[in-house]
Amino acid sequence: MYILTSLLAGLVFGLGLIVSGMSNPAVILGFLDITGRWNPSLGLVMVGGIAIGSIAFAAAKKRTTSLLGQAMKMPTARQIDRRLIGGSILFGIGWGIAGFCPGPVLVATGMGEVKALGFVVAMLVGMGIFELMERRVRLSRISTESK
């Protein structure tokens, strides 16, 4: 059941991205171009998302399990550190170069856009590099601890 609800959530999320125009990188770049001809649309998408999201998270806060009985897995990290800021800077640069972030580019891939698929492959390679670096850090920690 929880796999079906996840599929539905992904579907509704994707429809939201199409309806809002966010699956089109030209619209995203229009928002990020504050010194040029600015398209404020993305701001209103966030307003809409947060309006519903804040109600949902307020209701979720009091729960220990989800409505389907799943454990609530909420983020626990609180620190604002170099990883968070450095990573966000790299992400923002990439976002500004092509106008794609992870959700919209997957939806555009579902539209059969070959260039979107190319971006997804590069993004997966980037995420894979992160996993390899993390594994190396873990391994070096283990080896220094055992010395």
Binding site: L15, P102, G110, G126
Partner: protein, 144 residues
């Protein structure tokens, strides 16, 4: 700054945003999980027991959304002007950056801000700021 009134679609943006909010609410209330796309996709590359099927299902939902949209009519085609080289560089940066930064526009920008998380606010301000600077350089300095 001038507003691009021809491209600004306030009602479509707001209603699409509400749908994104509904999807976020579904995933947190029914599944107890955060609808952060970079975390969902990234988690598939480092699978943990019991956390793979729902992630894959969510991604399949995103990929199928355009097909589902066909019930209402033809979906608007995206306008992708970037060169292949720019797309590859941007894709790599988005992949690495969202994983080190623990989230993207959905996880930090929608869910994180909805949870009033200071960490997500810091991330959102940072990636938006970097995005503003990147577009300024690409469009107005390099003139691409």
């Amino acid at each position: 700054m001038s507003i691009d009134w021809n491209s600004f679609t306030p009602w479509a943006a707001l209603s699409g945003g509400l749908l994104i909010g509904v999807a976020t609410a579904m995933l947190v209330l029914l599944n107890g999980r955060i609808a952060g796309i970079s975390g969902i996709v990234g988690g598939l590359l480092n699978p943990t027991k019991g956390e793979t099927a729902w992630r894959a299902a969510f991604v399949i939902g995103l990929l199928l959304a355009p097909t589902a949209y066909l019930i209402f009519g033809a979906f608007p085609r995206p306008q992708i002007d970037s060169s292949w080289a720019a797309l590859v560089v941007a894709g790599l940066l988005v992949g690495v950056g969202t994983r080190y930064g623990s989230g993207c526009t959905s996880g930090h920008g929608v869910s994180g801000l909805s949870r009033l998380s200071p960490r997500s606010l810091a991330a959102t301000v940072t990636f938006m700021g970097a995005g503003f600077v990147a577009v300024f350089i690409v469009r107005h300095v390099l003139g691409a």
